[in-house]
Amino acid sequence: MLERFHYDNRIVKAFLFASILFGIVGMLVGIIVALQLVIPGLNAAEWFTFGRLRPLHTNAVIFAFVGNGIFAGVYYSMQRLLKTRMFSDALSWIHFWAWQLIIASAAITLPLGFTTGKEYAELEWPIDIAITLVWVVFGINMFGTILKRRERHLYVAIWFYIATWVTVAMLHIVNSFEIPVSLFKSYSWYAGVQDALVQWWYGHNAVAFFLTTPYLGLMYYFMPKAANRPVYSYKLSIIHFWALIFIYIWAGPHHLLYSSLPDWAQSLGTVFSIMLIAPSWGGMLNGLLTLRGAWDRVREDPVLKFFVVAVTCYGMATLEGPLLSTKFFNSISHFTDWTIAHVHVGGLGWNGFLTFGMVYWLVPRLYGTKLYSTGLANAHFWIGTLGIVFYAIPMYFAGFTQSLMWKQFTPDGYLVYKNFLDTLLQIEYAYWLRALGGVLFLLGALLMVYNVWRTVAQGKLVAEEAAEAPALEGVPVTSDGGYWHRWIERSPIWMLVLSLVLVAIGGLIELVPTFLIKSNVPTIASVTPYTPLELHGRDIYIRDGCYTCHSQMVRPFRSETERYGEYAKAGEFVYDHPFQWGSKRTGPDLLRVGGKYQNSWHFYHMLDPGKFVKGSLMPPFPHLFENTIDVDGTKARIEAMQTLGVPYPEGYGDAKAMEDLQAQAKLITDDLKKGGIEIDGDREIVALIAYLQRLGTDIKKPAAVAAK
């Protein structure tokens, strides 16, 4: 019995245009933050500083640009691969508008400084809850569609969509465990080493299951469609899919090599990253080999060109990533711009170019017309490629250069570049070139916007695309070559369950022992909770995104202990909700900054770093000298920390905390006064100084010596 139905193209159009719009916005913010690094004056206002805009850039490109790109591709391909309309139009539109609302709320709250301080998961708890709800809506809509399909078996693209959905749900929920302090402030449920492990288990797999697996699904649909060639190997699809999702989830700890994370967890991160090379390349191979016999068309068709570069970048990034996960390369690359280069090869090349290819393929089909200009699309391709080159190569050079400079010693045992700033100024040129690369990439994208606009103008939206297929009951079960795998392809719920089990294994084995076995985080007797003033200072540190440029993780290398002091110990971070180890050093590490400088030094430095330290690229933070400490929130903060197990005395938050806070503030203002600086004790700068002076000093206290 042939059934007639319509594909819903309106929702595809909506997501696709949202992706383009936020892509432009995200890239623009990217260029702004790139320039803010070299022109400190561009950090023009409290809400317009690098520390607050950088999370906006990452969130915009990951969740708005790529996120909407995923949904556009999924909503288009899933209907066709399953020969059915989406399960519910209402859910589709709830999904669409709620997602855009989340993006809008991110765009407002991040510049305002509402952040959890955990990378790629900066959004505060109310938005986290909203994301969870939208994700559930998407899941219902997706599985509803799968269940009412007219195709017996699920194509490989759908496997990837299913794995994506279930894993992202798991990651988001686990990593977002936090205790609300107020409407827009929360503390991570986990502390220190544990928080770091959860965060990078999440962070790495956000790359894996938000930027990679869904896009592999899209590749498996759009690549063979655009090339009009069969997929190279069905068997390779099966093996690399299961291997990829199983292995990927283990790799998170490679972000924490040579840190206070226990050695065994670091080693798991390393070996699973290495084992990930082949499964990742399976996707690249199946993509590129699908083009066998279509390479002549690659020369003419911009869509295929974009796909080829995207898949090639994917291949490069997934070889480089595992290499960076080995101790040798990681000791060089970590905290440098090498990491930035690496993620942008993936981001600009793989996600960017695949999205662009998809746009050029989809828009003419959605509008029943031809692309307005192939020439413009080709121009976009070349400008974009040039943009990637101009972005990546200078960043690689910057990474190598700075890392080598950090590590260079004179024969008589001194650091050659004692002043961190020297190593930064050395690579300033690369920061300019990188911004140029970003501008080129954006220019290319703007050409696409024009091209899309003209294409839309010359066509007419095919909102309801007619299709027909027999009902599922009429579709026979086939074994097709005797593959046992055909069974799971017709059992979507089992596929969901098996995916969840596979991705849960790695996470459980890494997380559970780190939480339960005490020896993983040896305690240090002299480490005590932050004072109320320091806690406020820490919140300010997190709010202004200091962690985007400063790490708090002295690694066990001679070059680091010589520069910063004793390397970090796991027990030092037990009260750090959230951890602030950072991932990039545009400025020096701050773990041992406590007691290094005078209070007045910090005072003048925060007021105008460039004036105080010649050539400094750090932006000024004048608002710290005007804003007052949120003392109304002290009690809630202390109580939230107590809930998390931080041992403040019972009822400490009621009055004693405030007394202590004022007493400590007075100590600092008195000290500043001796140097002729008059400042009220209720200003944020006082709290920040208190926090900075506390950093890393606990293990130097007498009790620490006694404990040894």
């Binding site: 084992m275 090379i277 024969p411 066990p556």
Partner: protein
Amino acid sequence: MNKRNLLSIATLALLGVPAVAQDAAAAATVATGSSTGINPNYLLLGAAILQVVIIISLNSVMRLLGGSGKVWTARMQRTSTAALVLLLFTGAQDAQAATGPTQWTSNQLFYVLIVVNVFLFILLLAQVNLLRNMTRTLVGKAEEEHATSAGAARVKRPTFESKLLQVLTRRVSMEREQDVLMHHEYDGIRELDNVLPPWWLWLFYGTIIWSVVYLVNVHVTGVWPHQADEYAQEMEQAKADVAAYVARLGESVDENNVKLLTDAGAIGTGKGLYEANCVACHGSAAEGKTGLGPNLTDAYWIHGGGIKNVFSTIKYGVPAKGMISWKTQMKASELQAVASYVLSLQGSEPANAQPPQGDLWKEEGAPAAAADSTAAPADSSATPADTASASGMAQAK
């Protein structure tokens, strides 16, 4: 067979080898740190230029060969353009090395040149490959014509490359694709039943074996060290290296034997160090800054005047007062130079001078005991590698 073609490949091989050899030689020069007179960067730049020349001349050869084939011509042009752009980039870096505000050290230039050379070499290889393909096509055509004229249907003999490729991929040729086309199709997408590429599978197995070896070596047998042990080893090695170096040099200045320097060279060095490190707190003329650092030009000293005390104060710092320790940031000789420079400013009476702090210092009455006020730097950041200061501390105690 086109002899000219082979000739150019031979030339290329001959020229390419020295280029690589030069790279290697240059790398060796840098690695050993011996300066044999010739800057390896010049060699590298020469190699780069040479490679570009070869690339361009090869192009003209190939254009002659395959002038009618549009595809080839386009590809060749791209190659030579890329080579030129790279060379220009290098040239620009060179110019920057000479004039730019952020000067390239010769070391960095060296790495840039290495990368450029490698790029060029890859381009060259690509070109040789293209050339070989062209040759094969031309030769193949001739053979084909020959075969047709002979009227014999000859089976093409598989080349080594194609055999190797077949072993590595075991793919089904495009012509026999129908045999492995699977029955299912999704929205028009078909799938082939090609086997897993053997090279890919070996790679996968290889990484798994490596992982097992890694885990066993690190966590079972302990052949490969944990990070704390690695750190201890690194520090020990550094300590030994530095001790050997210092012993060879025979120089060790500390607060017990330090002498005031007055020669212009040392004062100049000290001035440079002062301007780079001290002006933020003590002012550009050592006049002092309110709340930061005291006036250093008067005769009053908080932690004692005279070369030994000033040296010691700079070296260990006075953490309680905000004076940081400079011993990890300056060599002993540098500490001596900067202390000497500071003392050379005595009585200079700069503008905006801070009022005197501390006690009036008289040189005659300066016992070594003054070191007591500063010689207890409970600095946990002291590292074993820091032999110079460690020995200094031991002597101070």
